[in-house]
Symmetry: C2
Subunit: 206 residues, 2 copies
DNA sequence: GCAAAATCAGTAACACGTTCCAGTTTCGTT
DNA sequence: AACGAAACTGGAACGTGTTACTGATTTTGC
């Protein structure tokens, strides 16, 4: 339905003073709200600053660009999704079934928040090398989710073969392309789902 | 109030007066040159207009946005590549070998023009539903290139199975993701090539 | 408890995509 | 050749991301 706003969880200890953490949190919350309400274009730096009760210069001190801001928000989202999915067993009899299960779960969450998804995906696609760190987090989370599903939810982290990782990466690539096509209005949710299903069966061959 | 929009025609026979065709070509040439020299950011609408010897308003009459402009340039480029590749036999003993041959050829071309590739890829990733037509051209050209390679360069257009098309799409998806990773500086050319090789063998299994 | 350093608010200004407009030129038709 | 429609030019202007600057306020080091 809706993607949980991660602002309530402060599991990882972030550096800086309490006031800094406060401002950072307020900024990310404002970003999240604006993105969820109006998508990429609605996340305007002046609006974020105002809603976070922070000056524009301060906003730029914390996040050097709109892309950094949105990708950081995406990173938190993905971390949360990954954590939720990886701590449970995945239903399904075959790897393909299980992978499709998690992909469909993620798709459902995203379709429930299309504007937010559009904003974060656009930022991800537009990011350059200055955002490499934040983006790497997303890629690894995706690989983790897929391999975890392939192995049926068993914590077989050490048993990942090269082929497992390659398969997960390919599925992640297809997923990303499908996501972009959906976000940019070039394919419907149903077409995206059908394409993912075809691709997963093709790659995991059953 | 005017409806006419010369930019919406992408077929080989372009309508309009000679002057219109002239302007369109000048605009696309200027776009190409600026993109090749400085990438996405260097393709500035005022600069394109000036270099094409056209007023800014005229540029916007032909291409309603920077994204349309760049995606159209990408379409022209892809059409040419597709035509060149499809009129010859593809070397290689297996479908995987042949597909990798054309992918590596394309990769080499792109690495030779990194700024141009960056500009066109960025535009492609940022396009929305108003550019669907132009983007469809690119997608079909990609599918055509891959299926042509799979079948060894034989003109077996009528014999494409659903699976052929699905495979071509998946390979296109992986290609696109790899391209984005390379363009945004998140992976090197060598990593991209290795990933493509792994993925193609995985999908075409031989 | 205090001075220096860092941070912040507020605001102006710049850059580039985009829109709009008034006047001029080109094009197709009669 | 003349006329109306469409296209073109040149330039002003607007919105939003980004930068720069100044004077207050908070934090830090001692």
């Amino acid at each position: 339905m809706t993607i949980a706003n991660p602002s309530t969880s402060t599991s990882t200890e972030e550096p800086g003073s309490a006031a800094q953490r406060d401002r950072r949190k307020r900024i990310l919350d404002a970003t999240y709200d604006l993105a969820a309400a109006g998508g990429f274009d609605a996340v305007q730096m002046r609006a974020v600053a105002e809603q976070a009760d922070v000056a524009l210069g301060t906003l730029y001190r914390y996040f050097p660009s709109k892309i950094h801001l949105l990708v950081s928000a995406l990173g938190r989202q993905f971390d949360e999704a990954s954590a939720r999915l990886n701590e449970r067993e995945i239903p399904g009899d075959t790897p393909a079934d299980r992978v499709l299960y998690v992909l469909k779960r993620m798709a459902r969450g995203m379709q429930g928040d299309p504007k937010l998804t559009e904003a974060l995906t656009r930022a991800f696609m537009f990011a350059d090398s200055t955002v490499t760190n934040e983006i790497h987090v997303v890629g690894m989370a995706m690989t983790s989710i897929v391999t975890h599903a392939m192995h049926g939810g068993e914590p077989a982290e050490g048993a990942l073969t090269d082929e497992d990782v390659a398969i997960a990466r390919v599925i992640g690539d297809v997923w990303l392309s499908a996501l972009v096509a959906w976000v940019t209005g070039r394919s419907t949710a149903a077409e995206t789902a059908a394409h993912m299903e075809t691709a997963v069966h093709l790659i995991l061959r059953d």
